[in-house]
């Protein structure tokens, strides 16, 4: 195990990508993730990789498309408005089944919005921000260590399933510093990229396209994607719990809000309230079954988000009508405080709802 180093979240993502043998990075500046391209502009030449500042996110994400076609481990990073511009390429890479990694260090929206942390891009990330029937694997880290570890894993998942992976962070995670242990990378057996367009030397030509004019063929393609998505849903559900065993009130939160929720839970426990946390780490596939099971023993559920309430819809899908599901959120780049969350816990407990 390596030495502990203090790192900014954004830098941990960049270094994680280097650790994962990503040698191609295309990006365009946008706050609050500028540290990633800045780090890459220094670091990539040191490891013989490619750093290129694209002229826009539209171009940058299509450079990702190209590098992925050529078989590279490739990443681009941005923040909300930039990710919106990437939706076209995201739909194309999903359709063409290209492994690549996108990172969204989310900021407050809609429109130009602000530059403070937010979780208002959950729908865009998990429900298909671009056109067509597709899914991204969406991972939601909650610490700088996880930012690095999940970035490393994202590349393996992408290669394993030939699917784009989106790391969904927020400005707080990107900007904060925490100790990180740079771990030895676990070796994963990955399928060779026989489909890559590297030149048809000694093999039949490879074509990568998402065009399919015959609707029957396109449906077939969609069904095979669906099969893959079902496989991912079986194999890649990730979550964590905190004091959930005896929780009468179960908080559900991811990323930064999960940490705030955890602070609120500690305060609530000091007051003798039985409160726990369920933290989805894979937002797609969403841990529906695990959440349903965890929530079974509790009386109520409180979802905490830095948005007007987006994941709460998936929580309701998971728990069905059997539970009362409450929501507490701040939006526009505001962050709920642990005390606010505690007040909400106390309110719903007192009212017995």
């Amino acid at each position: 195990m390596g030495e502990k180093v203090l790192m900014k979240g954004n830098e941990a993502i960049a270094e994680g990508a280097i650790l994962a043998d990503c040698r191609h990075f295309f990006g365009y500046p946008i706050t609050p993730q500028n540290e990633i391209p800045e780090y890459m502009s220094r670091r990539m030449p040191e490891v013989g990789g490619v750093f290129l500042q694209a002229e826009s996110e539209v171009a940058g994400s299509n450079m990702v498309y190209g590098a992925a076609c050529a078989g590279a481990r490739v990443m681009t990073t941005s923040s909300s408005p930039g990710i919106s511009l990437m939706q076209e390429a995201i739909s194309y890479v999903a359709g063409a089944e290209l492994p690549c990694v996108f990172v969204n260090i989310v900021r407050g929206g809609p429109g130009l919005g602000g530059i403070q942390g937010s979780q208002a891009d959950y729908f865009q990330a998990t429900k298909g921000g671009g056109h067509g029937d597709y899914k991204l694997i969406v991972l939601a880290p909650a610490s700088v260590q996880e930012l690095m570890d999940l970035t490393v894993e994202a590349f393996d998942l992408a290669d394993m399933y030939r699917n784009p992976v989106l790391l969904l962070g927020d400005a707080i995670l990107g900007q904060m510093m925490e100790p990180v242990v740079i771990r030895e990378r676990a070796k994963v057996d990955l399928p060779p990229k026989t489909w890559a367009t590297t030149g048809a030397k000694g093999r039949p030509k490879n074509v990568i396209t998402s065009l399919s004019l015959d609707p029957a063929k396109l449906e077939e393609h969609n069904l095979s994607l669906a099969e893959k998505y079902a496989r991912i849903s079986n194999e890649q559900v990730r979550y964590m719990t905190y004091m959930a065993d005896d929780a009468e009130t179960l908080l559900v939160a991811y990323g930064t809000s999960a940490r705030i929720a955890q602070a609120a839970i500690d305060m609530a426990r000091e007051r003798g309230l039985k409160v726990g946390l369920f933290r989805p780490i894979s937002l797609w596939p969403f841990p529906y079954d695990a959440l349903q099971l965890t929530a079974q023993g509790s009386l109520r559920v409180l979802v905490v988000e830095m948005s007007l309430g987006q994941m709460v819809e998936d929580v309701r899908l998971a728990t069905g009508n059997s539970k009362s599901v409450h929501f507490y959120g701040r939006t526009g780049g505001m962050t709920p405080t642990p005390r606010e969350v505690l007040n909400e816990i106390e309110r719903i407990v007192e009212e017995g709802i």
């Binding site: 502990k4 203090l6 706050t31």
Partner: protein, 192 residues
């Protein structure tokens, strides 16, 4: 132990750096730590701040809205963050730039003439270190020597020649705090 502190000041006063030093030192000492800066265009010429958590427990929320300590190097920061400080907490302010006292009676308040002291030592840029010294002596959040170790990690190699100067500044800050402790601490500690 859970120390939650806000370091705040003008853009160029080095508040992000002293916050990082405390964070790094906490990590070296085996504590759980986090550092969260203000960022973006407001940093230009305006105010900068960072919040640092040093804790014996896992750091849950990296955001701090009820700090146990505030180190304010300019007036706008003092005005902004004074109401946030936990009752019984600590406010250290740069009395070289701030004339009026913070309007709180339920916290401990220490005035540090950071700019004057830094100028006496011979470099205005180390005013932040004077304030940091006073903070370390008052809270013992992390050890002073560990901060010096952290400095070697945080400062780029070419600036290591500045470490002795920084050490001097820290020492002066510590001295100011000790004088204050032996004089005032008895009567104010009731507020804790």
């Amino acid at each position: 132990m859970q120390e939650e502190v806000i370091f705040a000041g003008f853009g160029g006063q080095g508040v992000l750096l002293i916050g990082q030093l405390v964070t790094y030192a906490g990590m070296i000492e085996g504590a759980n730590v986090s550092w969260m800066p203000s960022y973006g265009p407001e940093m230009r010429g305006g105010t900068a701040n960072c919040t640092v958590v040093v804790s014996s427990r896992e750091v849950s929320s990296p955001l701090v809205v009820e700090p146990t300590s505030l180190i304010a190097l300019n007036k706008p920061s003092l005005d902004k963050f004074t109401p946030w400080v936990k009752p019984g907490g600590l406010i250290i302010y740069n009395s070289s730039l701030i004339e009026s006292l913070p309007e709180r009676t339920d916290v401990r308040v220490l005035a540090v003439p950071a700019n004057e002291v830094a100028n006496e030592i011979g470099d205005i840029r180390i005013a932040n270190m004077v304030a940091l010294g006073a903070y370390l002596a008052t809270t013992r959040a992390v050890g002073c020597n560990t901060v010096l170790d952290a400095m070697k990690k945080v400062l780029p190699e070419r600036r290591h020649n500045l470490i002795p100067l920084n050490r001097q500044a820290l020492a002066r800050g510590i001295e100011i705090a000790s004088v204050w402790h032996s004089r005032d601490q008895g009567e104010v500690s009731g507020a804790q």
